[in-house]
Subunit: 341 residues, 2 copies
């Protein structure tokens, strides 16, 4: 049945998010775990895995995974996707693969779920390292003690390192029917967004900018790399799991850039206007550490107006994709701009 | 011409190593560098790259890259490989690719060189993080100040993180003719070897074992993960770039396991017998930190005998591959056992 000819049902964004969050949480719980077949002589890798799970599970808004899955659905509008409870997992995939050689739609959904979890692992590792004493020296994250407070600095360092490796392991499963080209493409997008010309480079700018006056261009550059690159990669990874033309990819890239920057502008606003309880992390740290922010550059009302401008740019970019149904992506963009924590 | 029918020329191991080291150094110099097209508003990513280059270039025995390239050559014996100076790089690859659709041998060599450099980046990042104050707190590495001494702790943390991301970026180049299946396979092997069930897990055991008495099984498990996994992955990545049967891969895996463990046994011996100048790092640290080692477990002569046993196992595994020419791999195994630094 070609559902493209039917008018789309009204969007239940909350329902969509709840469904996808449930998939993501269960997938992370399954994939960030000790391989029972590993049969270790020593408990330390299991202890390390405990720190990794602490960093990843039971917390976080999962914005990046939701963007991956929403972008994947947007480029796949009109196709039927068959989601499988992740617990059934590999055996079920193998069974279906043997019975039905054309699992391309199903495997695309599996690739998107892996992409969603991989990008969250990169985000989670960056928070673990960012919170360490030699970086931001923060003791509270998502309302809980940070990983180095809970497990010690050395374990936090190793847990972050292992989470990054696990992200790339998730993207390259053995013996699945996810096309190799898709696996390699997802690795490429994620590696670039995480590295020196992406997230890590942005954090280097952040470190080097404490106490300095940045121009708006320099501030934008910092955030384009520090948070924007991974948010943009989330959108691109979702698109890469489906089928999309270069024109659609370019429009989605603009969308990702706009909401990536909007996310940071709102972050700067919330650091001033929200309290630590609502944020689940220490509020007011930017001013205390004399970090340049959009609020220090533009004032509070200027920063709020800029967030609205970026929201408009994001919606315009989405409109230019020509995709049939971008309502979930629009809904997520609104959540980014209107969030309170 | 099928060269398999001709007797192989006498092996010039030193010449082979010099040639391959030159290729690897030039490739690392090219690939661990700021993308000139990036046009950054801020110098910090370039400063971060300086720390990454300091960690990677101009030092190190490059054992892992040599293993990748030697294993690749061993599974490719009799095939002609056409190495290109890496500076000519991408444009030349594109030109040849357009002129000649069958570049499979050439592209396999390119994949092996990328694999060689990627595994070295993982090794280099692990040293940067391992030297940090919250881990081994070492100030000397390869005869130079460690990265955190030279650039500060935060930059060392970020440089390590960015090096890991760059490793996976190197393995998934865009617009080359390296098969996607090969790219994904290389990422899979490297990610597993680097993560919780590999190098990071082994370092967690190492941390948890200070001051404890380990059994020989526990000590072997620690080193199988901490250094063995990446050395073994080097061999497997080289094999993955060529064509090899599952039986050959299994034999090479045994070879990699044996030399991986031998490497660590020799490391433990050298920590006792060599001085800091010869090692390029602080000697005697194991005993000072009360770390379990093969020397503390078996005594010096026992550890030396065990290294010889492992050497024998490695050669037996190589013999069982049935490969035509494994002389370079045999030569590298001898270097691992007989090295003095």
């Amino acid at each position: 049945m070609d559902t493209r000819l039917n008018p789309p049902a009204p969007l239940d964004l909350d329902g969509w998010i709840a469904t996808q969050l449930d998939r993501v949480e269960r997938a992370l719980d399954r994939w960030v775990s000790v391989d029972a077949s590993a049969d270790m002589e020593h408990h330390a890798p299991a202890d390390l895995m405990a720190a990794m799970r602490y960093a990843v599970l039971d917390g976080g808004k999962r914005l990046r995974p939701l963007l991956v899955l929403a972008a994947f659905e947007a480029v796949s509008s009109g196709l039927t996707h068959d989601y499988l409870p992740v617990e059934e997992g590999d055996e079920e995939v193998a069974r279906r693969g043997a019975a039905d050689p054309d699992l391309s739609g199903f495997m695309a959904g599996e690739a998107a779920l892996r992409g969603a979890c991989a990008v969250e692992l990169i985000h989670a590792y960056s928070l673990v390292h960012d919170d360490m004493p030699c970086m931001d020296n923060d003791v509270l994250r998502r309302g809980k003690p940070t990983v180095h407070v809970q497990f010690g600095e050395a374990s936090a360092l190793l847990a972050g390192d292992a989470l990054q490796a696990l992200a790339f392991e998730l993207l390259t499963p053995e013996g699945t029917r996810i096309e190799s080209a898709k696996q390699a493409h997802l690795c490429r997008l994620l590696a670039r967004a995480a590295g020196c010309a992406g997230m890590a480079g942005g954090q280097a700018i952040d470190l080097a900018s404490v106490g300095l006056k940045l121009t708006e261009d320099q501030l934008r550059e910092m955030h384009r790399l520090k948070t924007g690159a991974l948010l943009q990669a989330s959108v691109m990874m979702g698109a890469a799991c489906g089928e999309s033309t270069p024109a659609v990819q370019a429009a989605l890239q603009s969308f990702g850039a706009a909401i990536g920057l909007a996310f940071q502008v709102v972050d700067d606003i919330l650091d001033v206007t929200a309290d630590s309880a609502a944020l689940g992390k220490t509020a007011g740290k930017d001013a205390e550490q004399d970090k340049p922010t959009y609020v220090s550059l533009m004032g509070l009302s200027g920063a709020r107006a800029y967030a609205q401008t970026l929201h408009g740019q994001a919606l315009a970019a989405l409109g230019s994709t020509g995709l049939v149904d971008t309502r979930v992506l629009r809904g997520l963009a609104a959540l980014v701009v209107d969030r309170t924590n």
